[in-house]
Amino acid sequence: MYFAKEMLEQSSTLRKKWEDEVKRGLEKRAELKERFSTVSDLEINRLYGPEDIKDMDFEKDISYPGQFPYLRGNQVTGHRGRLWTFRMFSGFGTAKDTNERWHQLLKAGQTGLSTAFDFPTLMGYDTDDPKARGECGKCGVAIDTLEDFMQLVEGIPMDQITTSMTINPPATALWAMYCAAAEIKGIPLSKIGGTIQNDMLKEFIAQKTLMCPPKPSVKLISDTVEFGTKHVPRWNTISISGYHIREAGSTAVQELAFTLRDGMEYVEDVLERKGLDIDEFAPRLSFFFNAHIDFFEEIAKMRAARRIWAKAMRDRYKAKDERSWWMRFHTQTAGCSLTAQQPYNNVVRTATEALSAVLGGTQSLHTNSLDEVWCLPSDFAVDIALKTQQVIAEETGVTNTIDPLAGSYYVEALTNQMEEEAWDYIHRIDDMGGMVAAIEKGFPQMEIADAAYKFQHQIDSAEKIMIGVNKYVTDEVQEIPLLEIEDRVETEQIERLNALRRKRDSKAVKRCLDDLKNACKKEENVMPFCIEAVKNLVSMQEICDVYREVYGEFQDPAMY
């Protein structure tokens, strides 16, 4: 029991008195709402007290930072010892444009890089593919070949700066380019650090960057985990992501449950397929969460995530190394909480969301820019977003002590409740035969669709409020400068690609592609073949086309 019996008795008496007074008060004046709930529609009590967390076990459930179950953080000194990485997601136009933005961000005090690719790159198409028309450089940087990639990392100290790449189906090809670029610069693979998102399960569930069916997609991911474990030990070969699940309209509990169950699916595949020991690769698994607008729900979610993962890794997968028990995660503030209307209000939303991520113990953070509803961020907007993190880190004092909200009746009760509800989902998915099977049934997709639909109705009926959307609406339009990607970007990129196709050694290209195809057919690890291919200027789509040919293409099943 978490509290002494006498204290609980005392609390019970005093609570009774308070409840009587509340009852009298309500007769005079009703509360502002009949029902109070989080943005995920989790009902919240009027008050939390000792009785709400009385069943907790201090050692098993709370403990200390750096101690199981890591509720209070992985590191013994929390953010006092090391701040989170300020990692702004950026990329637009050509590799050269993005390289300039990166240098500007590093100069402004950013401590890690994070790459946004354009839609053709994300989907495994070169800029000159008919499907890529009109999309080049719009949502991120266009990368077709190693030549583009070398321009992207021009002047970046790859042995000092870690780089995250948000890339999924073509992750093997893009990571191969990073590895090849490092080798060309004379930096050994053992010295480079970073992350590839490389989480396909959440693509089927939420983000829909699709290429091959679920099973071969998971195989390619296990290839990267194996290659990283053996050759690129400082690389996080997967960033198991809840961010997109949440953006697609899930609740916080669904984000928590589906993300962690995805993680378990990857762990199980690597154990079975590659025969690695859990402690060889688990320490490099990383996570990525959304920080939505409901402050305490987000903090509880992140604290619960650490505790669930620690338990799963120790008890379910028998990991022995404590680093395997740690859940390390990046956080991005919620794009879907931002509004196109009155865009300056987004600065405030992002600041509170960032604060929740910090109090939730994140290791890395991207803060959205105020204009991100409309377009890729302008220099002006991205600067405010980065400085939002700097203000939180260096002015507010919230990092003075570790996990300051621990012991809060509300936060601990909410953390427990979210953990419990997440385990319910995890067990349901276990019963379906795992996440791939659940996805094939459409289970997580439809759970999210239901939540998104409900939320939209709550917005339309103003049961949930978004300022400037359904309350305090003004006709006045706040003009903000929008970053425009000119059409010349596409023309120039296609010209570059054509020139490269003419000058490269076409025999070597063919040989590399044949070798890769054979590796796919023989279930060998594709990574060495990808690295060889990109060095010979094989394009990203050419690699992906091999996967499409061998593994088949997956179409969005269009469920709603």
Partner: protein, 134 residues
């Protein structure tokens, strides 16, 4: 004879996977009593036009949040026109900057919907502005 229901296709042209809005709309149209066809993500304009003709819809609702609407939306209108299907009304929505709205109307879209509109208002607009094909 009972009047037939409005047939509407919700389509996601281009490589954009932001389908939260499209899927909510598909469900909302179904609840409003329309016959709904949802294409899913990653359709080329050619695929969208072909599907609209094959499904004999009254209206195509295009959704795009990637910034490629200036290319994709007019392409669908043109392809329908080329194939003699300009009696299919094309509407669209997503993250459309104010400066592009007139451009899309000029390109032949009959309605352009931007953030902040309610599901109810969209249904009302459709009921008032889209008639069943002859």
């Amino acid at each position: 004879m009972a009047e037939r229901k409005l047939r509407i296709m919700v389509a996601k042209p281009g490589l954009d996977g932001h389908d939260r809005g499209a899927r909510i709309l598909a469900r909302c149209f179904r609840d409003a009593g329309y016959e709904v066809i949802y294409t899913g993500c990653h359709q080329t304009p050619e695929q969208v036009a072909a599907a609209a003709i094959q499904e004999d819809v009254d209206c195509v609702g295009l959704s795009c949040l990637s910034g490629a609407h200036r290319f994709l939306f007019p392409a669908v209108v043109e392809l329908l026109k080329e194939q003699g299907a300009d009696d299919i009304t094309v509407i669209g929505g997503g993250i459309i900057p104010a400066a592009d709205i007139q451009f899309l109307y000029d390109a032949g879209l009959k309605g352009v919907f931007t953030p902040g509109i309610t599901l109810e208002d969209i249904i009302k607009w459709i009921n008032e502005n889209i008639s069943l094909k002859g």
